[in-house]
């Protein structure tokens, strides 16, 4: 290389980045507290679940990204692997936070109206459609035969066992990949790379079967009467696109700050292709789910979209397609725009906000229901919670990154290929 890269340079987390992420966390905490104390507890819980899920998904993408690169024996990405590896290090925090939110949402109760029987009862803040006390007991006031039929799978203890299983499993696989990569730095040789390959393949097999279930449990069970087999893959696509966007945005940011000097336009071009391609994939799955239900028009299926077609949600329903399909499609299609850092950065921001809206459309209609107007759907609680979690993610990410000894896996067998990547 013409310019020597300092592989041993460490990231320093201080100054503006640290202040800003701490301020964002403070804003988030303040907004969440205000939300609880000003009578918007249910809406705040829904937002916490939304952002907790989003946060966890972005961190899971770190594991998926590393695993795909190892399983495919990809060369181009070798010098970037420390970034997704740092996502993995944040994953355990995200997982604990998500579990806490879900547990609190089920544990704390408030007066609600049941959906099927329209009765005034006391129910949990989250998962009220199936976690309501007595909903599976025949003869009870709130007995719901459909939920009782699903209770073999959808009951509180098994629900938590599953969540723990997914999140713990993904974290362990991810941390193993990080561990092997660190060992490789110290020892060299192919031994750790081969182990990473095995673990990556095992993870991808496990992940492929369990990630739809993770989405079914965490998000789809908010609308427990409804089900869609597309939902898991649709959520995976959203997770993958948003995670790639966050990763690309951080790559651009770190490069601008003078770190990762070896990241070139060619690496960013690849990330842009990933984002572009999987945005189309997301659209395909979103539309496949929608079209079949539209065409068949079976009441129990259409109910899901009926809720999302309430006048308060409808503008956001359409905007979801514009921001997650049309925007990346038109912005990222040309080769030149994937290679222009400014354009790519804008696309990342669009997609991060877009998939927030996507998750918003999955969570809100089934938890809080419509507000007074379409434009009050997204208010200070939504914005504040988003800012808080964004701050939390960046704080944990940069903090973990500052503890990484070398910003590049020094002894990765494909490192040279990545440093000379050219497309």
């Amino acid at each position: 290389m013409e310019t020597p890269n300092s592989f041993n340079e460490q990231f320093e987390f201080s100054g503006k980045a640290k202040t800003r992420s701490l301020v964002a966390i403070a804003i988030g905490v303040l907004v969440i507290a205000l939300g609880f104390f000003t009578g918007y507890a249910e809406r705040t819980f829904a937002n916490l679940l939304l952002m907790g899920y989003y946060f966890t998904c972005v961190c899971i993408v770190g594991v998926v990204f590393c695993a795909i690169q190892y399983a495919a024996q990809a060369g181009w990405s070798a010098s970037l692997l420390r970034i997704p590896q740092t996502f993995i290090k944040v994953l355990p925090y995200a997982a604990v936070l998500l579990l806490l939110i879900v547990a609190a949402g089920i544990y704390f109760t408030h007066p609600i109206i049941t959906e099927e029987t329209s009765k005034h009862v006391t129910g949990p803040y989250l998962y009220k459609e199936w976690a309501l006390k007595g909903i599976t007991t025949p003869g009870s006031d709130v007995y719901d035969a459909k939920i009782a039929g699903k209770s073999g799978y959808l009951n509180i203890p098994f629900f938590f066992i599953r969540l723990l299983g997914y999140l713990g499993g993904y974290s362990i696989f991810g941390l193993l990949l990080v561990k092997y990569s660190n060992n490789e730095d110290e020892l060299g040789g192919m031994f750790n790379y081969k182990k990473s390959f095995t673990i990556a393949c095992a993870f991808l097999a496990v992940f492929g079967f369990t990630v739809p279930l993770f989405a079914f449990d965490t998000i789809m069970s908010l609308d427990a009467h409804w089900f869609s087999t597309m939902f898991g893959w649709y959520n995976f696509a959203a997770m993958w696109v948003s995670g790639l966007s966050v990763m690309t945005l951080l790559m651009i940011y770190l490069k601008k700050q003078g770190y990762f000097t070896w990241i070139t336009t060619d690496h960013l071009h690849n990330m842009g292709q990933f984002m572009f391609g999987f945005s189309i994939f997301w659209t395909y799955l979103w539309f496949a789910q929608y079209l079949l239900m539209y065409y068949a028009n079976i009441p129990e299926e259409a109910a899901y979209f009926y809720k999302r077609w309430e006048p308060e949600f409808q503008p956001w329903f359409w905007f979801n397609i514009v921001i997650n399909f049309l925007a990346p499609f038109l912005v990222l299609m040309a080769r030149d725009s994937k290679r222009a850092v400014g354009v790519l950065q804008a696309a990342c921001v669009i997609l991060i906000l877009g998939h927030w809206l996507d998750y918003f459309m999955m969570v809100m209609p089934g938890t809080v229901g419509p507000q007074s107007y379409w434009y009050t759907e997204i208010g200070w609680i939504e914005v504040g919670t988003f800012i808080g979690f964004a701050g939390l993610f960046s704080f944990l990410f940069f903090n973990a990154l500052s503890k990484v000894k070398s910003l590049v896996p020094k002894n990765h067998p494909f490192l040279q290929e990545s440093l000379h990547h050219h497309i």
Binding site: L291, Y295, N297, M333, R335, H422
Partner: protein
């Protein structure tokens, strides 16, 4: 004035050929084109070749395909012979999307294929013409337009110095596989 139209420098090593390009460019000799049996990274930038506009052609063909089928379905299912399918409105846009998507892909791929054939003179059934047969086998060929260029011997020497295994002075531009 000789009858030479093109001077070809044949190299058996891509690095030598790249070196030859450098030498010619240093001596301000315009290069007509370079033919290699395999893709060589960075050669487009070196020769100053503009990016291919094939993608834009594909996009336009895709738009054409999508528009065509959308208009056709509209004519069939809304205008000419409206049918009640599952109680849906006649102009049920979501039902039109899969066919629109398929035709966009079909037109984009065929359109891109034919544009490529047109741009490279590779029509099916036509024997391709090349400047040197071995450029598709084991030789890396630099072609220089002989007209108006400084004494041909100088170019020959430059190419030889750069490591060309053979320098040809051709009276015809192309040879054909026919």
């Amino acid at each position: 004035m000789s009858s030479t139209k093109f001077i070809l420098g044949l190299f058996d090593d891509p690095d030598d050929m790249m070196h030859g390009i450098d030498k010619l460019q240093k001596n301000s000799i315009p290069i007509y084109d370079v033919y290699t049996p395999m893709p060589i990274h960075g050669i487009e930038a070196k020769l100053g070749i503009k990016d291919s506009r094939l993608g834009y052609a594909a996009f336009m063909f895709g738009c054409l395909g999508g528009t065509t089928i959308f208009i056709l379905i509209y004519y069939f299912l809304v205008h000419d012979w409206p049918m009640n399918i599952g109680g849906k409105p006649h102009f049920a846009v979501p039902d039109f999307i899969p066919a629109t998507f398929e035709w966009s892909v079909l037109f984009a791929s065929f359109g891109m294929g034919f544009t490529f054939f047109y741009a490279t003179h590779l029509f099916p059934g036509r024997a391709p013409r090349v400047m040197d047969f071995r450029a598709t086998n084991d030789r890396f060929v630099i072609a220089i337009d002989a007209k108006g260029n400084i004494p041909h011997d100088d170019i020959t020497n430059l190419l030889k110095e750069a490591g060309a295994v053979e320098v040809k002075h051709n009276d015809r531009k192309y040879v054909s596989y026919e």
